[in-house]
Symmetry: C2
Subunit: 214 residues, 2 copies
């Protein structure tokens, strides 16, 4: 059994790679994680998923336990058998992805797991705000929390989880970094904010902050 | 005049996005940087560049001065006039890209410049070595030199320039990180090494090191 984790990118269908489209089209089964009956990965890849009979949704709630990944892996192994199947995931499958944990369980069960790169949301965000992430000689940090972060010699910081926005904005203001808040990058309801009060008022799971040294 | 910087990814043609292909196909002119008469971006995008009459090569040597970008921008403005053209670049146009400097000059001259994301080489490298870059709660640094780098609370480091390999490997060994050397990721002559002596013997501009905390 071979499972390929495919990054479908941040939101715009056209940010899928040619390879992603090819593998999805040729897959025995298409496994798609959903939470509370919703799946953004499905919504993104919809143009090539319509009329497909071989889609299997997997219930993977946010912040779930290792048991959930184990039972998902079990189901994937049972359904896919000796075939090659794909597992769709937002952004890239190697950056804060549920695929990582599913793949670990698949391998423990004797299956094979690989990945096909997708455009990570922070890469798309850089295009959206029109600000480069890295110029010659610069350094960047990608994280999901500013806890314990040292910004010595760092020029760009991407924070991919914005639950504690006030703390994050304070952190960057104290260190003289300017920041951009990007909600649902490349999706229909994309929103870019730079004003502190407006940022604090917005709440959306799919948002990130990109900060640059002034 | 509108110039779109398009990331053609790390090497495999199939890692171009659908959007990149669409924009290249519709462009008035396709500007492609070359150095010493060679262009990797051209080689990658070749399957859709064959028989195109509107390709303009720009001589942009490695480590060139601001003057070179300025004269390239001038040429692009003159050739493209009021049309929308594209500029092809390796990986993503916002990560250590010559496009960043060209775009700055284009804007100074009154033109518009945007980017379309491409798969960065370090994202593709993660798929190639089968090791995730970021798991929940982890932090990553992307840099082109380990000079002045603090690894406190850092789990992954990507070094996108490997001129001083001995120094880089020492740096990671002293800090207990394991490392992977990836040459020409996703290209025909891709090579992945983990042995120090073998890494030191290889020399290639298009190589990187991905290090993970043990």
């Amino acid at each position: 059994m071979k499972l390929i984790g495919i990054g479908v990118g941040p939101g715009d269908f056209e940010l899928l790679t040619l390879k992603a489209v090819k593998e999805i089209e040729g897959a025995a089964y298409i496994f798609i994680p959903e939470s509370k009956g919703k799946s953004i990965a499905y919504e993104i890849a919809k143009p090539i998923l319509k009329n497909r009979q071989n889609i299997v949704f997997l219930d993977i709630p946010m912040g779930c336990s290792r048991d959930v990944y184990r039972s998902c892996a079990q189901r994937i192994m049972e359904v896919s058998r000796d075939k090659t199947s794909v597992f769709l995931t937002l952004g890239d499958p190697n950056v804060y992805s549920t695929f990582t944990y599913t793949a670990e369980e698949i391998k423990k069960m004797g299956g094979e797991a690989y990945t096909i790169s997708g455009i990570p949301s922070f890469i798309a965000a850089s295009s959206a705000i029109g600000v480069p992430l890295l110029k010659k000689g610069e350094k960047m940090i990608v994280c999901d929390s500013v806890e314990g972060l040292s910004l010595e010699n760092i020029d760009t910081v991407v924070v991919l989880k914005t639950v504690d926005k006030e703390k994050i904005l304070d952190f960057f203001e104290e260190r003289g970094f300017k920041y951009f808040y990007i909600r649902r990058c490349t999706q229909k309801d994309e929103l870019i904010l730079t004003n502190r009060q407006e940022i604090l008022m917005d709440t959306d799971y799919l948002s990130m902050i990109v900060a640059r040294r002034r």
